[in-house]
Amino acid sequence: MKREQVGPGGPAWHVDEAMSRRYADGSLPEPDAWSLEKHVEACGRCASAVSAAVRATGTAGPLLEDVRGALLRTVAEEAPGEGAGATERKRGAGARRSPLRPSAGRRGVAVRPASASLPGRLARTVWAAGPALRGAWGVALLVVCAGAVALAYGAGFLAARSVFFALAPVLPLAGVALSYGPYADPMYEISAAAPSGGLRLLLIRTTAVLGVSLPLLTAVGALLPAPPGVPGAAAWLLPGLALTVGTLALGSCTGCRTAGALVAAGWAFAVLLPAAAHAPNGAPTPAVLAEQLGRCVSGSAAQSGWAAAALCCAGLLALRRRAFDFAPDHGPGSYLNRLENS
């Protein structure tokens, strides 16, 4: 083996003939054999030289010829006129099922799972994308929307729209909080360890939450009767977005559930507390609530403020994107540790 060093960029060494021969007959000492093995993984020329040396030995040569014949027969039987890659894709992990018997694998080719129809796959994707959608949150969303419409039209409750708008930005937060984390997702440990876990999965689920809640809440908001002074149906969209992105950014430090609770509490303080303070007897009247809501979301200044906040939080989230790869509460006393210790 030549061990002289060539400058960076050139190969430091290649396997020479004597070394191949000694490796082939098994007399090469271990450390040199390791070097050869790692080198051969990367260098095709040496790989083929070492293979030739092994073929030349008395014991391995006939065996290699034998296996070659068996392999080519297997392959010829297996895929007449079909690309091997396509076979593998359809069979999925089937090849792994029978490590020792290729014949069992060959039988597996005939039993291809029927590929699911498009609606079926879509339904599965939606089901997987939103743990929040199919749980308590989905029900809560429907109850709020139905309740708002019922109060406004059935009971003639004038403040329905104001109360609805005070609640609307917080609803997606609850969905996000219930979308990702050890407490919300029974598959959390597995999905967090998967390559597509972490922020990517959280964003997909957040999209599912927003995709359902934004159109629904906006439509219901537009349906409710609008007394003067209450902001328009679309005014809550930017605050809602900013609060959601803020939850995600905060969630990178504290976990989504805590972050959702904190942001929702912040919103409640910003809207309800001043409204309660202005009210004469402590209970905010619809007019005061509407006025306070208007201060928070109406007008170009407030809206651009929310937009800037959303951008700011999105930037923070991008900076902290790796944080979701590790469970935020994976420390002493965390859920995972409790599981491990129980």
Partner: protein, 195 residues
């Protein structure tokens, strides 16, 4: 430091063969087999004394190559091939040992290979140090570092409990470090990351 850089043309050749195999070209598979089966056989035979198992693993590996060449993206074709073969070998050993062996508790996640260690392999000092290790320790080091197996897989391959793999790996590292320290070069080799 660069260890080696294989010729671009050679790597391209293997990649082209694998593309051909993915399309279902049997001649490409035969050519790929001729290039790689020899070293793969020798490498498997160094790790498994049973010739029949080696033969089965070899054939099964290339059948898998035929079926899953489409999943090869780029990079070292030989390394890709070895990953398949090593897993097959572990599976085969496990299938053989299943009857006799007790089930162990689930493994802890353990990092398997250390590139930094390989960086030093072409230096004489490291070779000397490895020579002085006892065969059991060297076997564990080979399975975890060179072959890229996890602790669990190494345990299955070598037929020893996982705890033993871990302690032997630790002892091997300690002894290597001690020997390298004696050789007076521990600070100057690229082996410094060994912990």
């Amino acid at each position: 430091m660069k260890r080696f850089r294989p010729l671009r043309a050679d790597r391209g050749y293997d990649a082209a063969l694998l593309r051909g195999i993915a399309r279902g070209d049997q001649a490409a598979l035969a050519a790929f087999y001729d290039r790689h089966a020899g070293w793969l056989h020798a490498r498997l035979a160094r790790r498994c004394a049973d010739a029949e198992t080696v033969r089965e693993v070899l054939q099964d590996t290339f059948v898998t190559v035929w079926r899953s060449a489409g999943s090869y993206r780029s990079g070292e074709a030989g390394g890709w091939l070895w990953v398949i073969a090593a897993r097959r070998l572990v599976d085969a050993q496990r299938a053989q040992a299943r009857a006799e062996r007790v089930v162990h508790e689930p493994p802890a996640a353990v990092p398997s290979a250390e590139d930094s260690a390989l960086g030093g392999l072409e230096y004489g000092d490291v070779g000397t140090a490895l020579d002085r290790l006892s065969p059991e320790l060297r076997e564990v080091l080979r399975a975890t570092v060179i072959d890229g197996l996890t602790t669990r897989e190494a345990a299955q391959l070598l037929g020893i409990p996982e705890g033993t793999v871990k302690t032997r790996a630790m002892r091997a590292r300690r002894e290597l470090r001690a020997v390298l320290g004696q050789l007076g070069n521990a600070a100057t080799t690229p082996w410094g990351g060994l912990a």
